[in-house]
Amino acid sequence: MTVNQVALAYLVASIFFILALKGLSSPESARRGNLLGMIGMALAVLTTLSIILGGRLEFVFLAMLIGGSIGAFVARRVQMTQMPETVAAMHSLVGMAAVLIAVAAVNNPSAFGVPDPMPTGNRLELFIGTFVGAITFTGSVIAFGKLAGLGKHFRLFSSAPVVFKGQHLLNLALALVMVGFGVAFFLATDKAWTPFWIMTGIAFALGVLIIIPIGGADMPVVISMLNSYSGWAAAGIGFSLNNSMLIIAGSLVGSSGAILSYIMCRAMNRAFISVILGGFGAAEGTAAAGADQKQVKSGSADDAAFLMSNAESVIIVPGYGLAVARAQHSVKEMADKLVKKGVNVRFAIHPVAGRMPGHMNVLLAEAEVPYDLVYEMDDINNEFSTTDVVLVLGANDVVNPLAHQQGSAIYGMPILEAHKARTVLVNKRSMAVGYAGLDNPLFYMDRTMMVFGDAKKTVEDIVKAI
């Protein structure tokens, strides 16, 4: 193929990638979208293979075979509850691949059709691609550890924020030194390995340092942010190799991650910068002060079953607690039984429910809850006031009416307005406060009944009692 034909084939692949993402606008077209993405990737890889046919290919195919098999194996085996850490692990691979390609490009620019020694313009872009890739790699490894709950084995993986004095100053200083070596790499006329390695090493360290202070519950933002970084790393590499397809694919991914980060921050009413600076969520799990002075009504699973089966309409609000308890299948069974009794059952999902964007939707879909029963916050918030029973399962802050009260720590955060329902059932393990460390007035309302216990156990008991 000529250079022009290759460029045109890459253009077609890029269009397939755009169409793939466009397919995700509805569940009906999503599978076709994914298929288009696969076709685009196949086209990109085959086109590139046709260029390099003359070279040594045995190791190339071996690497593709091994990598592909591992990927296929993981894709088949991974649990839906483990999706967040799986995605984090995949981000890290993209980051590392970007760094390795950058090393190869410094070593032998002519393999990519770039003049040797590399021109300064390409060096600048290579520098950007490398440090973003390196930060993506180590940052994602830390995120993976936090999400997989490996904090017991290694302190940096702790889901509580790891903070120390002068942390932000250290990060800033390291970033400046890194940029300094980047400039040295940029200005050099030879291969300039020394500044390249130092700057890459610092970027690896920075990836660790910027993720460790971020608490477990901010993970939806972190994982979206790393998604974005992995895209920008790919785009940076595309710049230095003058490859439009890499730039387009990288930019699509980069903007996707950035938009998801924005959506997550907005749903928590937190500024992106404050999430990044971290430290929030250190007080996770402490008991609410003075909670025992206030009266809560508590009831059994049988009472809950009685209330729900006699209701006309029920809205279920699943939260992170449901995912932890892996109760989604029992919830589906409960919903089925209620529907059979003629109850109008719907699910209400807050954008930050779960540990990554859209996580709760996938868990419910896995349990075969039809997606047209599952509503996003904005679509169902008006319905709570005309609903007989709301069942809150393992959610807390996202239904906290304090969000409407000026001066409270979560004032302004969009919530599911469960407190407007005629009866509110709340399942929690204990009266512990949520992530924001706030007491929840919802629990003390006259119309609220608390059902204490593990989400899965409680729902199973309700199923039996209906």
């Binding site: 591992i70 390795l100 990519f112 790393a233 996707s256 998801l260």
Partner: protein, 103 residues
């Protein structure tokens, strides 16, 4: 004003336009599919494998081609894993038969 445009400028043009396209396409993605969106974008960003292939195929087995081969392996995990896990998730969002009994 004669001469050719610097490739970096052309790259920049492509980049800016692609970000615009990305912005508009991604806002149209339904929130219910945000997790598959992430795994799909992950698979797409592993198109970086193209760079790895170019690096790996040189005749001499030196630092550059070794790095390329390792990068091919890493990116291949993502290519296969990303698309397949997305497919697996999207299968779950299939519309069920109206009265399909789970038993």
């Amino acid at each position: 004003m004669t001469g050719t445009v610097d490739p970096t400028i052309i790259n920049l043009v492509v980049f800016v336009l692609a970000v615009f396209v990305g912005y508009h396409v991604i806002w149209n993605v339904t929130p219910a599919l945000h997790t598959p969106l992430m795994s799909l974008t992950n698979a797409i960003s592993s198109v970086i494998i193209v760079g790895a292939l170019l690096a790996a195929a040189v005749d001499a087995l030196d630092l550059g081609s070794t790095m390329g081969i390792i990068a091919i392996g890493l990116a291949s995990v993502n290519v296969a894993g990303g698309f397949l896990v997305t497919q697996r998730m999207l299968e779950m969002f299939k519309k069920k038969e109206p009265k399909g009994e789970p038993k």
